[in-house]
Symmetry: C2
Subunit: 402 residues, 2 copies
């Protein structure tokens, strides 16, 4: 019997009525002849409520204890869902990440899955049960509970689908798929029927929030077909899979954006080997995730280096740079209110002039480009935050995505 | 370094402020030179809230899933408490029942502890940490989460104290010890400094709610001295330990009571071997806990059998008896609104006339005794529920307990 893995996010199990709805969906999938594994997130705002209690007690709670705390939310969901399935006359069993064999490293609050021990999963499936796995969590070699970071339940689902060689992995969420742009900004944004892993990775990296980067990486690595769809309808959503001839041959598949970038520019940095390593080493030391980096050779043996960070990480970045300023004798300036707009498309690889068209579109809309970064299937531009929505709309129209 | 085990109930950790209070107490105990293990219950009403969600989904949720659900409450408490201790500059680690090595049988929702594997507990203690154990839970041979039933955290604490050969086990609660009678009923009820295990067992069995029967049995079996005290003061509470010469030599130590008894009387039952076995076998089949049983030889080869059950179990008892009525051809009558008043005291063993004094006291107060049951250190009388409070006050005065 083929195995299907379904993942339901927090909004899909936000209250007992919605849990009953998910139970009906799982029983239906079982009735269609699948062995069913479901990965479940914590109900609604549970994780935020638990975090609020933790921060009421400590500004910097120990991460091992945060994992012990936060991992309870998904256990509540799976237990309640098991009850709801029993109520429908089917048998189900809830499993914690540990019981489901999700093995991770010891990096608490953002652990990585190192393996899946499928013995119990297969036993329970073979005994005819619907298997419900608490998402977002695993167990470390020290037998401590770990969590996988934001969007971790998606990764749990993909990892289980890979380990069980599932036919497919369905990601149920509160939107009905991946769109050509954020529908809240672009009225005629269109659901995309299918995208390649590579495109989805670029989209996730540049602001599409529907899937977390790591789960897409995992799906690509193990060739797990993902189906992103709504838990409130029966409509098909968006498939994420290997690029093939049936996919739309759009040059540009989607416009993505972020609106929480800050730009820092180091002025007149000595232009000698090792300087960039010093700067970005210091930032890494403060756990700052640097996104885009640009260095231009300037004049008289000095250079300017610009980079962007997520705005919440700006204070940490400033701390790192202030500590460096004596050593390197450089000043820096901050552009705090920045955003980023990107176009993503697998067709771009074999189609020249796409970047030029993007730059012209933004120029025609009176939008100044501060930084540019490209990959083979993506072009990103950092711009003023206030102009992000206009930019998204202009690009969506220019590339005829509506 | 001596080990101390402390247990804190749900009211002691009802909110983050109280959790911080418990953290201070644990750090203080560490400062006094103890290795500290703390067993923690779920915060305030957490367990009831989880149960309400379960019953919103299913009238009879599967017990394995109830255990998965309910065990999360204690995990939240221990994680938050670990954070609060770190905030005070001490190191602590939270452990689930499983991680703490609490092994149980597979009887979900009322599992019994079968052993404690202390390896990790000792490792963590030896590394200087305060060890926080989620109460009320363990792990079955199938590696499923089990819970220990009402008052289970007390049992967890006693089991850990026994396995670790702790110097003592302190049970922190919202009352400051064991009283000579319920202070809500008897104004001059007095805290008892020390009672023997045997007396505490009888008191717990006859209505004293401060400690659960099973935890006292466990403490007696392994000789763990218990100290029942308040988490809101530093006053000493009540010691529960082996009977010794330093204990008060009171003939009667306490008056206990219950007010949710129902009495059933089977009329003119055939007086032949096996009848009682049939009746009480049928009741056991419906999971009815029978408390007191009395059989009097009646006339002409028949007998009357009376017994009491907790009132919530009355419907199940009636179901069992109705099914029997054809077989045995007997009728039964019900006294629904009954209560029970008991006197407990180790001194009673060597002091005649105590029961007689009890009966006379009740008679003088105009209270009719419906049933009597005795052990070597206890006399219990079933009476009308409306007269229970008067009976408790009269007996407390008659035996000079104030």
């Amino acid at each position: 019997m083929p195995i299907i893995v379904q993942k339901y996010g927090g909004t899909s199990v936000a209250d007992t009525e919605r849990i009953k709805n998910v139970a009906r969906r799982l029983v239906a999938a079982r009735g269609e002849g699948y062995q069913v594994v479901a990965v479940i997130s914590a109900m609604g705002d549970t994780t935020d409520e638990l975090l609020a209690m933790a921060h009421d007690i400590s500004a910097e709670p120990p991460e091992r204890e945060l994992d012990m705390l936060l991992s309870t939310g998904e256990r509540v969901s799976v237990a309640l869902l098991a009850m709801a399935i029993h109520e429908l006359g089917q048998t189900a069993i809830s499993l914690s990440g540990n019981q489901a064999g999700i093995q991770t490293n010891t990096v608490h609050t953002k652990a990585r899955i190192t393996g899946v021990e499928t013995r119990r999963l297969i036993e329970e499936l073979d005994s005819g049960k619907i298997v419900l796995v608490a998402g977002f969590q695993g167990v470390s070699p020290e037998e401590d509970v770990t969590t996988l970071g934001r969007g971790g339940s998606d990764t749990t689902a993909v990892a289980l689908a890979a380990a069980l060689e599932a036919q497919q992995c369905e990601i149920y969420t509160d939107v009905d798929g991946v769109y050509t742009a954020d529908p809240r900004i672009v009225a005629d944004a269109r659901r995309i029927a299918a995208v390649s892993y590579g495109e989805m990775l670029e989209m996730a990296a540049t602001g599409a929030e529907v899937l977390m980067l790591r789960s897409v990486e995992y799906a690509q690595k193990y060739g797990v077909p993902l189906h992103v769809r709504s838990s409130f309808t029966d409509q098909p959503g968006t498939w994420v899979r290997e690029e093939d001839e049936n996919m739309e041959k759009a040059v540009v598949s989607a416009v993505t954006h972020t609106d929480d970038e800050s730009k820092l520019t180091l002025l007149r940095v000595p232009d000698r080997p090792g300087v960039a390593a010093t700067v970005f080493g210091a930032l890494a030391g403060e756990n700052v995730n640097v996104d885009m980096i640009i260095q231009n050779v300037s004049e008289q043996g000095t250079t300017d280096i610009s980079f962007t960070v997520n705005q919440p990480e700006l204070p940490a970045a400033q701390k790192a740079l202030d500590a460096l300023s004596d050593e390197l004798g450089v000043a820096y300036i901050i552009g705090e209110q920045m955003g980023k707009v990107s176009i993503v498309g697998a067709g771009m690889k074999s189609y020249p002039g796409v970047a030029a068209k993007m730059f012209k579109t933004l120029a025609d809309a009176g939008i100044n480009i501060e930084m540019i970064s490209t990959s083979s299937i993506k072009v990103s531009c950092v711009i003023e935050r206030a102009q992000v929505e206009d930019a998204v709309r202009a690009l969506h129209t220019a590339f005829a995505l509506g």
